[in-house]
């Protein structure tokens, strides 16, 4: 049985107090559980259901409806390439092709060392800086194959935190000199 940290516990209670109905905290609570477990597993469902007072089946329903809750483990660094029209018009297909070759895995598979995975996702609202991808929770915009390759090499070397923590509302440090946003 997996255990959840005291910090996770405290945070979920704090969130619950902010809403008129505690069930509203199911989505942030799932994020917090995922943060601790790496993905949403059965323990996560059970823990969340106890916290927000919902039947496990209803928590499962929520977890499976929304794509940002991982039902299977993803790589430590998960690359999501936007494939929708504006990105496709500016060469998103080449980005995906490159990832497939570089990582030697298909979409939704994880590299053997557990470090990398990728998938194609729908419009991420970064159409003016296309093509783009999301490296964990950070946007990487105005992308070229060379730019992404260089970033991935740096990530392998520097192991930065690229996740948004719902326990602290802090976005990972990212990579130095990589802007948080390039949108204008």
């Amino acid at each position: 049985m997996a255990t959840f940290s005291a910090e996770a516990d405290r945070r979920v209670h704090e969130l619950i107090s902010k809403y008129p109905d505690k069930k509203s905290a199911v989505m942030p609570a799932l994020y917090i559980a995922q943060e601790e477990q790496g993905h949403v597993n059965d323990e996560a469902i059970k823990w969340v259901s106890e916290k927000v007072g919902m039947a496990p089946v209803h928590v499962m329903e929520v977890a499976t409806f929304y794509t940002m809750y991982y039902k299977e483990p993803v790589g430590k660094y998960h690359v999501q390439v936007c494939r929708t029209l504006s990105c496709a018009l500016r060469g998103a297909g080449q980005i995906t092709e490159f990832l497939e070759k570089k990582l030697g895995v298909s979409a939704h598979e994880v590299t053997k060392d557990g470090r990398w995975s990728f998938e194609e996702v729908e419009c991420l609202g970064s159409c003016g800086t296309a093509p783009m991808c999301q490296l964990n929770d950070l946007y990487c915009e105005n992308l070229t194959v060379e730019k992404l390759d260089a970033l991935m090499k740096r990530i392998d070397k520097e192991n930065p935190n690229l996740r948004l923590s719902m326990k602290t509302d802090i976005l990972g440090d990212g990579l130095k000199d990589l802007p948080r946003s390039e949108v204008i």
Partner: protein
């Protein structure tokens, strides 16, 4: 850039505008102080008089929407900011959330006072991590200053605000889907009526307004409805954020006076078509509005009425430009894939029909198209449109139908090429297609 009025993007290039001190140094939070001394009903009248229309896509008059909320129903009134920006081609709210979060908060407070709402929520799409963090920081700053919480500015008015992260479902941008999601459920839209203004989140009267709509309120209340009406056209007053993307030299978010000519926008703001290519088509208001061919743009202006006359819509202002190299069958497939993936699964015509349409476009591109395929898609679309709980059904069929209607020869030539070939030979058209997806 030509002399558009800057209401929303006035301070967007100031690096400290996202902070409380930066925002206040440029007059921020001075309008809400005055508004809190006004009769709330007068605020609603002012917003009605301004002609401000919902900027999320539907274009419904904001003040009229507020007017539907019953007063003294005995239930609390809730205000929700729709920042679940997910319409392909749209990234305007992201700019406001990242660079002007206090403007969004001040707009929320004005709406909250008008509606006498004591609790509001900013529903931000889950992928917007950075806009989420910026918004949370701004709200924390506002609480510290006493601009949120109890007895705001000594007015006796109490208002609490939370930020809620979505988790990757396009449909939560539909207001009743958003409400369901906030209640802790799958984001599947509700039947209307009852409308959210009467029965919304937690069974209480609720107003859902788009980020850009709310961000326009401080300017309107500061300068008055007449000043807002003086911008734009008679029926489409004010300014609109346009997110320009695709094959242009200068993609980005632009604030335009409504009624601005499309061709001029492409030539001047967008800096023309990239690589010296020719314009082929545009999708002016997000992926779910009809395509316009380059030859249909003469005399068309960027406002609700002019776009409607031209057979399309202003929508969210997600302005996608395509050059002459684009294959419209690819475009139709790309968007069909988006809609089949994002269907919430509640209504059968949309859940099943979306996949069928995608499959048929796929086989046309794969060189396996059949003679009746275009008719088949039209039939499917006729069975989806108007037969679903929410407008997603129409959003799904619009790009499919309009690509076929505006560029029938591109679909026909692919299908005919197959008919002319020896059976079983297949076609290499997919690999040559520019948008080909690696799957």
């Amino acid at each position: 850039m030509t002399g558009h009025k800057k209401i929303l993007l006035q301070h967007i290039d100031k690096p400290d505008q996202y902070t409380m001190s930066g925002y206040e140094s440029r007059g921020g939070y001075s309008t809400i102080k005055k508004v809190l001394g006004m009769d709330p009903l007068k605020v609603i009248e002012e917003v009605k008089a301004s002609g401000l229309r919902g900027r999320g896509g539907a274009g419904f008059p904001t003040g009229v929407k507020w007017g539907f909320v019953p007063r003294n129903s005995g239930k609390p009134v809730y205000l929700l900011q729709n920042a679940d920006e997910s319409e392909p081609g749209t990234f305007k709210d992201r700019v406001l959330l990242e660079k002007e979060p206090h403007l969004c908060i001040e707009g929320m407070l004005i709406a909250a006072w008008a509606l006498q709402s004591h609790w509001s929520c900013v529903y931000i799409r889950g992928e917007y991590g950075y806009p989420y963090v910026r918004t949370v920081e701004a709200i924390n700053e506002a609480y510290k200053k006493g601009y949120l919480g109890e007895n705001i500015f000594g007015s006796g008015f109490t208002h609490h605000m939370v930020v809620h992260r979505g988790a990757g479902a396009y449909i939560c941008g539909e207001e009743t889907g958003l409400i369901e999601s906030l209640e802790g459920k799958k984001g599947q839209p509700r039947l209307k009526p009852p409308f959210p203004a009467v029965v919304g989140v937690y069974g209480a009267p609720t107003v859902v307004n788009n980020t850009e709509t709310l961000a326009a309120l401080p300017w309107i209340m500061e300068n008055g409805a007449a000043a807002y009406r003086a911008i734009g056209t008679e029926k489409s007053p004010g300014t609109k954020l346009i997110s320009a993307s695709g094959h242009i030299n200068k993609p980005g978010v632009y604030e335009i006076d409504l009624g601005y000519p499309v061709e001029r926008f492409i030539a001047e703001e967008c800096g023309g078509i990239w690589n010296g290519k020719k314009l082929k088509a545009i999708i002016p208001g997000g992926s779910s509005v009809p395509v316009l061919r380059a030859d249909e743009l003469k005399g068309v202006n960027m406002d609700y009425e002019s776009f409607q006359q031209a057979g399309t819509m202003l929508g969210s202002g997600g302005f996608i430009v395509m050059d002459e190299t684009v294959d419209m069958v690819d475009v139709a497939l790309n968007l069909a894939h988006f809609y089949s993936h994002e269907s919430c699964g509640q209504c059968t015509p949309c859940r099943e029909g979306g996949h069928w349409i995608e499959k048929i476009f796929h086989r046309i591109i794969d060189g396996k198209g059949q003679a009746g395929d275009m008719k088949l898609i039209e039939n499917l679309c006729a069975q989806i449109g108007g037969h679903t709980i929410c407008p997603f059904g129409e959003a799904l069929i619009t790009p499919a139908l309009s690509c076929m209607k505006k560029f029938p020869e591109e679909f026909l030539s692919k299908i005919k090429a197959v008919e002319g070939e020896t059976k079983g030979q297949g076609s290499g058209s997919r690999s040559s297609s520019m948008l080909a997806q690696v799957q």
